[in-house]
Symmetry: C2
Subunit: 311 residues, 2 copies
């Protein structure tokens, strides 16, 4: 069951060096989410073979700067032209609904499906979504306009029954659900076999934190502690840190400090200034502080494997 | 002095088969124009090495369907992030200014330059623009919402003086402008050399007509008579003509009939339905009626050479 992040766009405001504005696809088991939607997102989905885009039921928007939302009108109208019928929910800071409605009205578009706009609180961390697979919680960031990151955390699954034990104790199919939920099993001979012997714990839930755009904000560390994957913007290297300071962005070193303090599994760098055709200065700077760092490029896929607590 | 059309996007509403929504660059001598601006236009300009995009002073929008305008917000804000200062004029049917303003407001964008929105009359053909090189005239089309085509016609240039004659008659530099404008020249010996002997006519002005989106509308023929290049939408082949009828589009055969009746130099097909991965059925159908037809693909460049009336 995958936990898979695909980078569709990882440049900052002005597309450059063949890179596009921000957009990502996160698949958590059967759920498919879109995170930010810069211009060209629907085209990048085709470029990188994202299948089943109509299954995306939720879009999470960090903030309303154009490089994070200008792909929405095209995606929404293309869904409609392809006769989408399932609802779509878009989470964002305030103002998006008015903008999208103005665009749809001007372009004469009538969507074939319902769009629910949910305005998120960008000031405090709040769980805003859950389904069977995952919860999503906001991460307050700082960028000169209301902005939020998002923490995707897989839900803990029931313990797994050990296949060999089913045969060994001749456990009927109907009993398995209860055993997985915690019950013991009594054999035909009256012997009690404990839940612990029959099962192994489900893998640890996997997690992903998306943090862009933001200036250096160490108070997010407790919110993203121990996540498997952290995408944190690295618009500049420290050498250009004055621009990060001025425009509300972070350096690669700052992102790596956050990753280190939060003890994350892996840091993914992104949201690059147009000046970085070659990303190695970004990655090198991040790695010098947090070795398991990677400067993402478009089309990169990051798979999070299960970490089992007992095998 | 080039008269050069570059196809940036030539698919219809839903991007498919690696093709993008409508956008074109027309260079007429030193002037650079953008025609329509579907999602991804600024990215396609980079893909196809369109240099000097900041020199584009005018954008001509056919209509407000999303696949013709959703690239505008990104282009306009990128111009601003690159500190553009020269004015930009956008010609379009009504409603665009309100939409763009709503988008800019929501995304917190303040442009570094002035944008002049000019609403064009979509009911009658009107000259809406001229500079030293070119005039632009609207072509009323029909598509279920206000829509217009655009006719770009190079201005007639003064006659060219024949270089050898300057040496032969020892013509001073100061006299050349007057001779090109029509005057004769009198030599030091008092002999009159006629304007006709000294000059050759300037090349015939070149012209381009952009006609999309539209259903079959033969009354445009007189407006586009004898143009060098005609881009006319061919969303479907005749086999799928029922869809053309239903959605206000044209078949390849209908576009070719227009091209033939108007005696154009070359027909460029485009605005393809997503069903046409292979464009040969479109091109074949058009060629069967108007042999000098070409199914445009993205990145195609069409150069119009001078046709001299006297050499």
């Amino acid at each position: 069951m995958p936990f898979r992040l695909t980078i569709l766009g990882c440049n900052s405001a002005v597309p450059a060096n063949g890179r596009h504005p921000t957009a990502q696809i996160l698949q958590v088991r059967k759920s498919l989410f879109l995170i930010d939607c810069g211009e060209g997102t629907q085209l990048r989905m085709s470029d990188f073979n994202i299948h089943g885009r109509e299954r995306i039921g939720q879009i999470f928007i960090s903030h309303l700067h154009g490089d994070h939302i200008f792909g929405l009108p095209g995606l929404l109208t293309s869904y409609s032209l392809n006769n989408r019928t399932n609802d779509l929910t878009i989470f964002s800071p305030p103002g998006l609904e008015e903008m999208i409605n103005a665009v749809l009205k001007a372009s004469g578009a009538h969507l074939s499906y319902a769009v629910n706009f949910v305005v998120v609180d960008t000031e405090k961390s709040t769980q805003i979504f859950e389904d069977k697979q995952v919860t999503v919680t906001t991460i307050p960031l700082k960028h000169g306009m209301p902005v939020t990151g998002y923490l995707f955390r897989e839900k803990k699954q029931p313990d797994n029954i050990i296949a060999e034990k089913i045969a060994e104790y001749d456990i009927p199919f109907q009993k398995i659900k209860a055993i997985k939920a915690g019950e013991n099993f009594v054999t035909a001979e009256g012997k009690t076999i404990t839940h612990e012997e029959l099962t192994e714990p489900a893998p640890e839930p996997r997690s992903y934190a998306f943090c862009t755009d933001t200036s250096y904000k160490p108070d997010i560390v407790p919110l993203i502690k121990n996540v498997d994957l952290l995408y944190h913007e690295t618009t500049f290297t420290t050498e250009e840190g004055v621009h990060a300071e001025k425009y509300g962005h972070s350096t690669a070193a700052q992102a790596a400090e956050i990753a280190k303090a939060a003890n994350v599994g892996k840091l993914i760098c992104g949201h690059y200034s147009a000046r970085y055709g070659d990303l190695s200065p970004i990655e090198k700077e991040a790695k010098s502080i947090f070795p398991n760092s990677k400067a993402a490029d478009e089309g990169d896929v990051f798979e999070v494997e299960f970490r089992r607590t007992k095998c």
